[in-house]
């Protein structure tokens, strides 16, 4: 393997794909579950696609994009914000969407907070996750600007707190917390459902996506989509084994326009991806 | 005014070297004692045992009424400190703090005496202490070098800074390990005069390891000779002729063993 063709002879998936597919999971939402548990996913994919399925669990989207760019990786699993971000610099094609029911961003406050109405958020501290996270950064900022009509850059104090966000919220160090689905789940598990009050519930976010590098042929993409959908149950079980967040998910064929809302969100959050595309 | 009494001291280094093999003697106040012996005969080791820098393996060393060996073994730091405050030492290899100033190095001599820790530094020592240190430096002829860094002095000059440091300590007992080895003949005599002057003046006890036989004979009130870790000569027991002195350095194994045996009998 290494830099070069994209994987050797075309013997995979009934002759449509290279005999080796190099797959990376970019840690769709930080690192959600133990990487080791992706082994099942790896073997399922290898089996249904009839390829050598080389697998890397990568915990950083920058690295994932660079690896595709440098022809070190053929196929990638990422979240919606990452798909858009990576797509802005590298030529990739979306293949399979993984819809996660209830995957959205919310804004919550402490139960006894005097913030009663979204308008009260003016001038308040809001805890976010880390830069580029779908449900913990881009999603909420879009929510604040789009739904609430508040300028996230000037009218609220958005703080990227990374791993300290939940502790900081519970300790009352911030006024509100932009919590993704999994953050809500964590709040429930750790502090109980009474520990927060839902202020704004955001719309569902686009699907996670399995995408391929531009070097993978159209036929191969089609073959992958077909075979994965045919074995939906198996693939979903394997994904669920890797991460509970894939509970109750479903698979579907995905197109690029599904992510236009994400692009708007980036723009709303103050990151114009066109700049990047222009530069490239 | 403090007597020094050494009884059956042995010292074995961790690597097994028997550096001192059972040495006993008493030294009375005011008695300028000179320790002779060939290289490696155990002089430095014996001196270091006397103020507890090394722990003698067996035996006892009484300074005043404290047994240094026992105190070391019991880790009785208070007692050891008390002994050391009364015992000044000049080191064979000077052991200055090279990157500090000369006056600062001399001032360290009073470390055992001062009670207020900040008084240890050149810039914060009391006026009296600084003046005293300057006087000590002057006594060894180095007052011109007070502000220089110790490392930049010549070998002999460093040796003399070490002596000044000991002088500032104003000890009751002086252990000097080849204090004049690196000194020129005139300075060497001046330092010996100085040492013996304070011995007489304050009735101190001095043990001085030396290799210069002429100086030893001229100054020594008492000469003690070591060979291979044994005490083989003591002018307090039997006066020593120049010939015998020269004999001390002959490397004659059998004879030495014999002498050691006799000596062991004598002191036991």
């Amino acid at each position: 393997n290494g830099g070069g063709t994209g994987g050797g002879e075309m013997t995979g998936a009934g002759g449509a794909c290279p005999d080796t597919l190099r797959f990376a999971d970019t840690g769709t939402e930080g690192m959600e579950e133990l990487r080791r548990d992706f082994e099942e996913f790896q073997s399922v994919m290898a089996e249904i696609l009839e390829v050598e399925f080389e697998f890397f669990a990568v915990s950083d989207r920058t690295i994932g994009a660079a690896a595709v760019d440098a022809d070190q990786v053929d196929i990638l699993l990422a979240g919606p914000a990452e798909y858009v971000a990576i797509g802005s610099r590298v030529d990739i094609n979306p293949v399979v969407g993984i819809r996660r029911p209830g995957y959205n961003s919310n804004i919550v406050v402490l139960p006894d907070s005097d913030i009663e109405d979204p308008d009260d958020l003016h001038g308040k501290d809001i805890a976010l996750k880390d830069a580029g996270s779908t449900s913990g950064h881009i999603g909420p900022l879009a929510l604040i600007e789009g739904e609430l009509g508040i300028d996230p850059e000037t009218e609220v104090n958005a703080r990227l707190l990374g791993d300290a966000r939940i502790e900081a919220f519970i300790a009352g160090d911030v006024d509100a917390f932009a919590a993704g689905t999994s953050d809500i789940r964590r709040l429930d598990e750790r502090y109980g459902e009474d520990s927060y009050r839902m202020l704004v519930e955001g719309p569902d976010l686009p699907s996670d996506v399995i995408m391929t590098s531009d070097r993978i042929s159209e036929e191969c993409n089609e073959e992958i989509l077909e075979r994965v959908l045919d074995n939906e149950e198996e693939v979903l079980d394997a994904l669920f084994a890797s991460d509970v967040k894939y509970e109750d998910s479903s698979l579907h064929s995905v197109t690029d326009d599904e992510y236009d809302v994400m692009r708007d969100a980036f723009r709303a959050a103050g990151y114009s991806l066109e700049d990047l595309e222009d530069e490239l | 005014m403090i007597p020094l009494s050494i009884h059956q001291v042995k010292k074995q280094y961790p690597d097994g070297t028997q550096a001192v093999k059972g040495v006993s003697f008493n030294i009375n106040p005011g008695e300028g004692t000179i320790l002779l012996g060939s290289n490696g005969s155990g002089k430095t080791t014996l001196l270091r045992c006397m103020n507890g820098l090394e722990t003698a393996t067996t035996g006892s060393i009484y300074v005043d009424d404290i047994d240094v060996v026992a105190a070391k073994k019991r880790k009785d730091h208070r007692k050891i400190k008390r002994v050391r405050q009364q015992v000044g030492m000049v080191f064979q290899r000077f052991e200055l703090i090279g990157n500090l100033g000369v006056l600062q190095n001399v001032l360290f001599g009073s470390l055992g005496r001062i009670r207020k820790p900040w008084e240890m530094f050149t810039s914060t020592a009391t006026k009296e202490e600084r003046d005293r240190a300057m006087e000590c430096l002057d006594r060894v002829g180095l007052s011109d070098y007070a502000g220089q860094r110790a490392r930049s002095l010549s070998g002999g000059q460093q040796q003399r800074v070490g002596i000044a440091r000991m002088l500032l300590q104003e000890p009751q007992i002086v252990l000097a390990d080849e204090p004049i080895a690196s000194l020129d003949p005139k300075s060497g005599r001046e330092v010996m005069n100085l040492l013996w002057e304070i011995v007489r003046e304050r009735n101190l006890t001095v043990v001085c390891a030396l290799h210069q036989l002429a100086i030893a004979q001229e100054y020594g009130d008492r000469l003690i000779g070591m060979r291979h870790g044994n005490l083989v000569m003591d002018s307090a027991e039997k006066s020593v002729s120049t010939e015998e002195l020269n004999h001390l350095y002959d490397d004659d194994e059998e004879e030495e063993e014999a002498t050691a045996a006799v000596e062991a009998e004598m002191t036991s």
Binding site: T62, R89 | E95
Partner: protein, 268 residues
């Protein structure tokens, strides 16, 4: 003086000393780990050569650095520097006593030494993130939590390196001060710190540099700083902005090295 090789040969040390069985086992195990590590990397020269071409493109993207947000970055780095300075200074000061307790030649006793060493190791092992969380829980978001985290970090680092340097101090000058009957405090201030000082300066300034570089932690505790900016630039693929930040940090690092060199020149 004619050499008799037979006699000498018996005294000549052996060329090789067979290491003990336990050492051989340890070495074998380590070699095993090493081999497995190399094997896992699957490094082939071809792979490496093929790859090098790819890098040019990446670099082209970062050059020239994007200076539009320079002013923001400049103030972020000033802010970071201030917090890092406070955290590091506090950490260095706390590391001094810790290192003295943890060093073979200055510890009051071996139990204290062992406990301190293991504690320092534990402090290092607990990830920064955990410390940050602890401080956020305890005192809330903000610079204070970040500064405390950096302080702890510094203790883990300086505590170990100070101690290791202290153990390397040659015993001579220390003995010299000990011989004056000085307290341990006096010895420490007089012979330990002055000798270890150049190294401690270097270590401390490295700790400061480390604090600035790892200032992401300040972002996590909501104190802002340059770390967040760099991380954001990287995740958003703004390599040219990242380069600007890296150059800024590099200047600070160089400044601290320069400072280190100047201070050390004056004291070595």
């Amino acid at each position: 003086m004619i050499s008799t090789p037979e006699r000498l040969k018996s005294k000549q040390p052996n060329r090789f000393q067979m290491p003990s069985i336990s050492w051989l086992i340890v070495i074998a195990i380590i070699l095993g780990f090493f081999a497995r590590g190399v094997y896992s990397a699957e490094m082939t020269p071809g792979r490496i050569i093929a790859g090098i071409g790819n890098i040019g493109e990446f670099i082209a993207e970062a050059v020239p650095p994007d200076l539009t947000r320079f002013e923001n970055y400049f103030w972020a780095i000033v802010e970071t520097f201030e917090m890092a300075l406070v955290g590091t200074v506090a950490g260095v000061i706390l590391s001094l006593p810790v290192a003295l307790l943890a060093s073979d030649n200055t510890t009051p006793n071996q139990v204290v030494r062992l406990v301190t060493r293991n504690l320092v190791a534990a402090v290092r092992t607990i990830p920064e993130l955990v410390w940050a969380l602890i401080f956020v829980i305890a005192i809330g978001l903000g610079p204070a939590a970040g500064i405390f985290t950096l302080t702890i970090d510094t203790i883990g680092f300086c505590g170990r390196f100070f101690s290791e340097r202290i153990e390397e101090i040659p015993p001579g000058p220390v003995d010299a001060l000990r011989a004056t009957g000085s307290s341990q405090f006096g010895i420490t201030l007089g012979a330990i710190f002055p000798v270890a000082f150049p190294s401690m300066v270097a270590t401390s300034l490295y700790a400061l540099e480390k604090a600035i570089r790892s200032a992401v932690i300040l972002g996590i505790v909501g104190a802002g700083g340059i770390g967040v900016e760099l991380e954001t630039a990287m995740t958003m693929f703004r390599y040219d902005e990242a380069l600007t930040i890296i150059i800024l940090i590099w200047l600070v690092v160089l400044g601290s090295e320069q400072f280190s060199t100047i201070v050390r020149r004056r004291v070595i």
